[in-house]
């Protein structure tokens, strides 16, 4: 059932923004344990409630509206968690064997895809992301123009995408 409020289709909003909210929350809270999932749900609920109540009328962009809710919720959560952890240590999160297996499989797929890349791509990825050299430093080290560094990183990403899809 779709609810249209001031031209905003709620289901579409949720579908469109859930990945970016999830990404931001996972980055702040870590992807292990149930915390990030709960926080994402709370953010979506809050957003839906604000749209339904008319509190958000589309005067700022939907992205900024959701970014603001997300940022505040992350800060509140961390603050609350800090207080809670003062009293008692954090319980070990329950292992989820299915999720762990899925994650492990994905990591293995990525590792084997990386190994399949030609040396010139692996070199650039290693220097740029593992050693964290700047593009200029990578270019100097490999004796290639700076723009080639970006080209190779971008192309490596495209190749990885193809390799992992198989």
């Amino acid at each position: 059932m779709k609810t249209k409020t001031e031209g905003l289709d709620l289901e579409q909003v949720i579908l469109k923004y859930k990945p970016v909210i999830t990404f931001r929350v996972k980055k702040a809270l870590g992807s292990h344990g149930p915390d990030w999932e709960d926080v994402v749900q709370e953010i979506l609920s809050q957003a839906v409630q604000k749209i339904q109540s008319g509190e958000f009328r589309g005067d700022s962009s939907a992205g900024t509206f959701l970014y603001t809710i997300t940022s505040r919720r992350i800060i509140d959560f961390i603050r609350h968690k800090t207080k809670v952890l003062k009293e008692a240590p954090e319980p070990v999160p329950l292992a989820d064997p299915y999720k762990d297996a899925v994650e492990r499989e994905r990591s293995e797929m990525l590792a084997s895809a990386l190994a399949k890349l030609k040396p010139k791509y692996r070199e650039v990825l290693y220097l740029y992301y593992y050693q964290e050299l700047s593009r200029d430093e990578v270019a100097a080290r490999l004796g290639i123009p700076v723009r080639k560094v970006s080209e190779r990183v971008n192309y490596a990403q495209k190749l990885m995408k193809k390799l992992v899809r198989k």
Partner: protein, 217 residues
């Protein structure tokens, strides 16, 4: 296709090199720009995969460099029209190039000076930690230590009563990720240490384990 001006910040964001307002602005941006977010999410997975692989990514590449010089040498010597003095000069120059190129391979790595201290722990060269080494007001944003030498890889480990986080870097400073910092609480005691490895993966130094507390509010 026109590139979004924020695209340049994707890598810096993923390597925790953006901070403060710049970071906030970028985060707000990717909530509004589907193109940047898609690129960011894909790039994030790639960066994580590269960091997990580390040295393994390029292990096979170090081996393959020397033969090219010898084949150039061979090719030059077989060129028929060269005058004898030219051949001698070129051969001499190439011999020197080959010798100096091979010296790094022939020189054995000096063995690290290790000894067992009273606690039965291995200690070698001294690796000094710079920050944090005393109590701090908030969870540290960075960990920093003294440089040990060239071509050294550092492995950092942070503990509460168990291992909290570990990471490797070639720099002498590392940003503590947001999700780790958010788990560090006031009043708690933490410790960290750094291990140094040579480019061949040999352990050459271990720092002391330094304790610090985040001051209670």
């Amino acid at each position: 296709m026109n590139a979004c001006p924020f695209e340049d910040q994707i890598d810096r964001y993923l390597l925790n090199q953006l901070s403060g307002e710049e970071k906030d602005r970028f985060e707000e941006h990717y909530f509004n720009c589907a193109g940047c977010f898609e690129k960011l999410a894909g790039r994030d997975e790639l960066v994580r995969a590269v960091k997990r692989q580390g040295e393994k990514l390029v292990r096979d590449l170090a081996a393959g460099k020397e033969p090219a010089r010898l084949s150039v040498f061979q090719r030059l010597l077989s060129f028929p029209a060269l005058k004898p003095w030219a051949v001698a000069a070129v051969s001499a120059a190439l011999v020197l190039v080959v010798i100096f190129g091979l010296i790094p391979l022939l020189r054995k790595e000096a063995p690290p000076r290790f000894f067992l201290n009273d606690e039965g722990t291995v200690r070698g060269e001294s690796l000094s930690l710079v920050s944090p080494v005393t109590d701090v007001k908030t969870a540290p944003a960075y960990l920093e230590w003294k440089k040990l030498g060239e071509d050294v890889e550092y492995k950092i480990s942070v503990y509460d009563n168990k291992l909290l986080w570990t990471e490797t870097t070639l720099k002498t400073r590392i940003a503590v990720p947001d999700d780790i910092r958010s788990r560090m609480t006031a009043g708690q005691k933490y410790s960290w240490e750094v291990r140094a490895f040579s480019s061949k993966g040999i352990l050459i130094a271990v720092s002391n384990r330094v304790h610090f507390r985040i001051s209670a509010e």
